[in-house]
């Protein structure tokens, strides 16, 4: 019978699982449900029209792919779920255990995976005419549009000095555009800390990047061209504006559901919102050693989704999320991998190489004695990088910080 439950304490019997969101989180959760033996009805609802793809590739290789863009493609799925693509979830009723879709249908579930990700934040603009000049980079369509627009080598203002803004700036420069980056913080400082941000900024300037060290506060149009308004009162003119100023979790469809906490979708250490609802990926705020928050990154989404799938099937018997931060970026000829919490304060200890932008293996030790290992233009297996981050066996005990008291 649909909705049949076994007595409390035992594993819940689920017959219908609905996954909302068809990005890497929804895909991984679906694969993981199948791998764990769930052979009931699995339905995936996703408002994008295509199969899941790799978003990280969109701001890296995909901007540079010669003829056709292929770097974003992922291998075909094997979960054999019913996929409702191009369909959006509008509302959740956790009492009735159903999801209302924008095609008018209602999907009942025994178990629900929320994996609706996030969307790009845009600049505030009082001028509707100016909006058409502002691109963001989140979806495949965004990437195709950006590729189309940079073919003619326009002048570009990239707004936002995070990893995404810097990768976009790097891609646009490589395509032959004239690029100015507007960022009130030193680029990459918020993500990586002062030391590494200097290295990235130097590489950027070296590649011809111009920096406007002020916050973009608005966007206007003048003579058919966009004007970015800066907090210091000046304006930047360009042919094209690309904003990379953060992401907003897609929780709108959950607004009336009662499962949000202060507007956030918070999950426990097993990615559960409640026993029959789990959430994973960019949409979810989860407990980490540094508090409850979203960590909108690729491996974070994958690890959360695996945890979420098992928790939905096995409840408290499922393993808790063992979140191990991993970050990488490629820009201006630099390739960085980092294992451990970011940003990084102070200067590193050099395990290989030395200061400057050359190949190096570095380590920072945090106050709680955990560490972060960083490989810069240095090929190294991730398991090895992780071991360098936390070499001492004593440090295995630090996850105690993550555990929420029962």
């Amino acid at each position: 019978m649909p909705g049949r439950r076994t007595p409390p304490g035992l594993t819940v019997q689920l017959e219908r699982i609905v996954v909302v969101g068809h990005g890497i989180a929804g895909l991984t959760a679906s694969d993981s449900l199948r791998a764990a033996g769930f052979d009931g009805e699995l339905t995936i609802v996703g408002d994008e029209h295509h199969a899941p793809y790799s978003r990280p590739a969109l701001s890296k290789a995909a901007l540079l792919d010669a003829e056709e863009m292929t770097s974003h493609q992922l291998p075909a799925s094997t979960h054999e779920a019913r996929e409702l693509l191009g369909v959006r979830a509008l509302q959740l009723d956790p009492g009735l255990k159903s999801v209302v879709l924008d095609d008018g249908s209602i999907l009942p579930y025994d178990g629900l995976v929320v994996a609706t990700g996030s969307r790009a934040r845009r600049l505030a603009s009082a001028d509707p005419a100016a909006r058409r000049h502002e691109l963001t980079l989140r979806t495949l369509e965004d990437a195709l549009e950006l590729r189309r627009r940079i073919v003619d080598k326009p002048s570009v203002v990239v707004v936002g000095g995070g990893a995404l803004g810097m990768e976009i700036a790097s891609g646009c420069l490589a395509a032959g555009c004239d690029v100015t980056l507007a960022s009130h913080r030193q680029p990459m400082a918020q993500q990586l800390g002062r030391y590494l941000s200097e290295v990235f900024l130097a590489a950027g300037l070296d590649h011809g990047l111009r920096l406007a060290p002020s916050q973009a506060v608005g966007l206007r149009e003048a003579d058919g061209h966009p004007l970015v308004e800066l907090a210091d009162g000046s304006r930047l003119a360009a042919d094209l504006v690309v904003s990379a100023i953060g992401d907003i979790p897609n929780t709108g469809w959950l607004a009336d559901s009662g499962i949000l906490t202060n507007g956030r979708l918070e999950v426990d250490s097993r990615s559960r919102v409640r026993p029959d609802i789990v959430a994973a990926g960019d949409v979810a705020a989860f407990p980490t050693a540094r508090g409850v928050g979203r960590i909108p990154l690729w491996t974070s989404a994958i690890e959360q989704s695996k945890t979420a799938a098992l928790a939905l099937l096995n409840g408290d018997d499922a393993p808790e999320l063992e979140f191990r931060p991993y970050f990488w970026t490629e820009q201006f000829g630099l390739s960085l991998k980092a294992s451990g919490f970011l940003p990084l304060e102070g200067t590193p200890e050099f395990l290989e190489g030395g200061p400057g932008g050359g190949p190096a293996l570095m380590r920072w030790t945090h106050q709680d004695s955990s560490g972060t290992a960083v490989a810069l233009n240095y090929r190294i297996p991730i398991p090895k990088l992780r071991r360098l981050a936390n070499p001492a066996p004593a440090l295995v005990e630090t996850p105690a910080l993550v555990e929420t008291p029962a």
């Binding site: 895909l27 991984t28 694969d31 791998a35 790799s54 990280p56 590739a57 290789a61 770097s71 974003h72 493609q73 992922l74 291998p75 094997t78 690729w298 491996t299 994958i302 991993y326 990488w328 490629e330 390739s335 991998k337 240095y378 090929r379 190294i380 297996p381 991730i382 398991p383």
Partner: protein, 62 residues
């Protein structure tokens, strides 16, 4: 099933090795080496996960 590596695509992230160390590893130069090419039933799930985690889809199964 066979694991196929599109070598020019591989960026040496090693995320695949992390989920399937029994099937592949990065060598000292950071080049990915497939230790197992023909995967059996018992290795299939690990192979699938490795292909899935790669952010540039350099691995596939056929």
């Amino acid at each position: 099933m066979e694991i196929i590596l599109d070598r020019p695509r591989c960026e040496g992230h090693g995320l695949c090795e992390e989920v399937a160390p029994q099937l592949m590893h990065l060598d000292d130069d950071g080049e990915l080496v497939l230790d197992v090419v023909h995967v059996d039933e018992g290795q299939l799930e690990a192979a699938k996960q490795a292909a899935r985690v790669c952010p540039v889809a350099a691995l596939r199964l056929a």
